[in-house]
């Protein structure tokens, strides 16, 4: 059944055809790998409600097979699968594709989150989560997937809320006022801004800013972040720009 024909059907005749209509107007195909039926069900339902095409897999093996045959736009991956460690899924997908992977993990396993991110997962969401949170992560990850495909961020100025960062002039303004940053602080903020919306692990930031031979003592990063926070955030308890993911890393807010 060609999609062209589908499109030519008059929308008034919907009723029965509504579903196929939707299939066509999808925002993207999302593969949900999750063994728990209730969770899979509610994720898929809410994805469909947001005009995504959701495909689900009950096990890691099924997920890997579907990932390679369907080439989805995004994978939502639960780390606790019965047949295989979720990390293995990330490894096997990363072996041939850069498609965005969002990991679903339990709150108390921050080590696992870091491992998943370092293996190449794009983001994570912590169980239990609300629909709005899930959708925000999905949108961000899809956007970054597009960026990767489009090779290189061309934006010269990053803007979110009252913050603007001009990469060319190395100029940071918050609510119109220029903020002076040290060299290192600028590098950190710029790195986070280029990856806005995604959590960057301590290791990723350290190796970007100080180079790969820096020891893994992240105290110096924390000190710099504390200074940045004091310069950027009016009320750090309600951060507007840089969010802290304790035990994992930092995340720059993203324009919606």
């Amino acid at each position: 059944m060609g999609k062209g024909r589908e499109r030519n059907r008059p929308p008034a005749a919907c009723g029965q055809n509504r579903k196929t209509e939707r299939d066509f107007f999808v925002n993207g195909t999302i593969l949900v790998i999750e063994d728990e039926e209730n969770i899979r069900d509610f994720i898929a339902t809410s994805l469909r409600a947001q005009e995504y095409k959701a495909v689900d897999a009950k096990s890691a093996k099924e997920g890997i097979a579907l990932a390679s045959s369907l080439c989805p736009d995004l994978i939502l991956l639960d780390l606790g699968l019965p047949d295989m460690d979720g990390m293995e899924v990330i490894r096997s997908v990363r072996a041939w594709s850069a498609l965005p992977i969002v990991v679903i993990s339990a709150r108390t396993q921050e080590k696992e989150k870091v491992t998943a991110l370092d293996l190449g997962a794009d983001d994570y969401i912590t169980k239990p989560f609300g629909i709005s949170e899930l959708m925000a992560r999905v949108r961000t990850a899809l956007r970054h997937g597009v960026h990767v495909a489009g090779a290189g961020l061309s934006a010269e100025v990053f803007r979110v809320g009252g913050l603007s960062l001009d990469f060319g002039k190395r100029l940071l303004k918050v609510d119109g006022a220029e903020i002076h940053l040290t060299q290192v602080e600028y590098k950190i903020v710029a790195f986070l801004a280029r990856n806005a919306g995604r959590v960057m692990t301590y290791d990723a930031i350290i190796s970007h800013v100080w180079g790969p031979y820096m020891d893994d003592n992240n105290r110096i990063l924390r000190v710099n972040m504390a200074n940045i926070r004091r310069k950027l955030e009016k009320n750090p308890a309600e951060p507007r720009y840089i969010y802290t993911e304790v035990g994992v890393g930092y995340r720059m807010a993203e324009e919606e």
């Binding site: 709150r107 108390t108 921050e110 239990p128 992240n218 105290r219 924390r222 000190v223 972040m225 504390a226 004091r230 009320n235 750090p236 308890a237 309600e238 951060p239 802290t244 993911e245 304790v246 035990g247």
Partner: protein, 378 residues
């Protein structure tokens, strides 16, 4: 061949078991390498000192004192009676042979000899007996101490479990009731009513989640100081994250945060300490009955970091101040706010803080309650 091997193995095993089953009294009379070496070393040392002393001053009385000291020390560093008694005999022999006239000859006929011999033997036996008795006593005491601690821990866990199962039942009843009502009478309920039922289910489930997260944190502590998985964390980040999580969960909560200018890095399990702060904030939110924002603060006091939550509400009833961290506080209270079961939350806070080597304190100030805790700077 294989048969022989098996026999040897069986023999070895039996021998090991025999050794394990040796009784208290056998242990007192056995000869071991360690005892022999220690005894010989101390005796040699004393003999050397005595020899030097003898060459310098030619006195004999004090030499006996030297050996007496050795006899007191030997049982201290060895097990059982044998080393002391052997040492006593050797000492008497040495004094006789080396340090009394005629030198380098045995002379058992001197009139004071039997008395010296008997005295030294008595000292050796008495000290051995006293020492091994003391050692045994301290061993028993240590075992009792450990048992008491185990019992204490067990009691805490039992309290926790009792409180938890009591507290889990309330929201579960709500969830089960609402969902079955919805399924069975859905047809004749108004849209609005349905919506409010589902909202209640959501609320109760969120509350259950809160409880379960608290319980999960407890499983991260394996009971002793070494049980917490500590890493260096920036204390202010933990505070900020806890505040934003608490706000996300209870949108009505109002918090003023203050942190020091200096960045404090502390060894801690950030998830656990975050949980403590959230529990304290929610405790203030649900129980203070105040519409003023609470203060969450962090400062450094010498070698400790102090975290705290200060509210401006009704305060903690003085009768409960002493037991507020025991997890039983909510049992007898029986009033409506026991539903939120913060007794458990606070007892978990105490468990977490104690496992980090810190202290937690509650008191009332002029206009409300304040709970603070300390963590060592590491």
């Amino acid at each position: 061949m294989r048969e022989l091997f098996r026999k040897i193995k069986a023999f070895c095993k039996k021998r090991r078991e025999d050794i394990r089953q040796r009784t208290y009294w056998v242990r007192k009379w056995e000869v071991t390498w360690k005892n022999t070496l220690v005894t010989a070393a101390i005796l040699c040392m004393v003999t050397a000192v005595a020899w030097i002393y003898h060459r310098l001053s030619a006195g004999t009385v004090n030499i006996v004192m030297f050996y007496t000291i050795a006899l007191i020390f030997i049982p201290r560093f060895t097990e059982g009676y044998v080393p002391g008694i052997v040492a006593a005999m050797v000492s008497v022999g040495c004094v006789n042979y080396l340090f009394t006239y005629p030198y380098f000859q045995w002379d058992f006929m001197r009139e004071s000899y039997p008395i010296t011999f008997v005295c030294m033997l008595l000292i050796a036996i008495t000290v051995s007996a006293v020492t091994s008795y003391t050692k045994e006593q301290s061993r028993v005491l240590a075992a009792q101490e450990k048992q008491l601690m185990e019992a204490e821990k067990e009691k805490m866990r039992a309290n926790l479990l009792r409180a938890v199962s009591h507290d889990l039942r309330t929201p579960l009843t709500g969830i089960i009731g609402a969902s079955s009502a919805y399924l069975e009478n859905g047809a004749c309920l108004s849209e609005e009513k349905k919506r409010s039922m589902v909202e209640h289910i959501g609320e109760d489930a969120n509350w259950l989640l809160n409880m379960v997260e608290n319980l999960l944190t407890v499983t991260r502590i394996r009971g002793d100081l070494t049980g917490v998985n500590k890493t260096e964390e920036a204390a202010e980040e933990v505070v900020y994250e806890a505040v934003s999580r608490a706000k996300k969960r209870n949108p009505g909560i109002q918090v003023r945060v203050s942190v020091p200018d200096e960045l404090l890095m502390l060894p801690m399990d950030a998830v656990l300490i975050g949980q403590v702060l959230i529990n304290l904030m929610e405790n203030a939110y649900f129980h203070a009955r105040s519409d003023q924002p609470m203060d969450v603060y962090l400062y450094r006091k010498e070698e400790e970091a102090v975290f705290g939550v200060r509210d401006y509400g009704i305060g903690i009833p003085p009768a409960r101040l002493d037991t507020i961290f025991d997890g039983e506080a909510m049992e007898g209270s029986g009033n409506s706010d026991s539903y939120r079961g913060m007794g458990i939350g606070l007892s978990i806070c105490k468990t977490i803080v104690t496992a980090h080597g810190g202290r937690i304190m509650a008191h009332n100030h002029d206009r409300g309650a304040e709970i603070s805790f300390t963590l060592p700077m590491g």
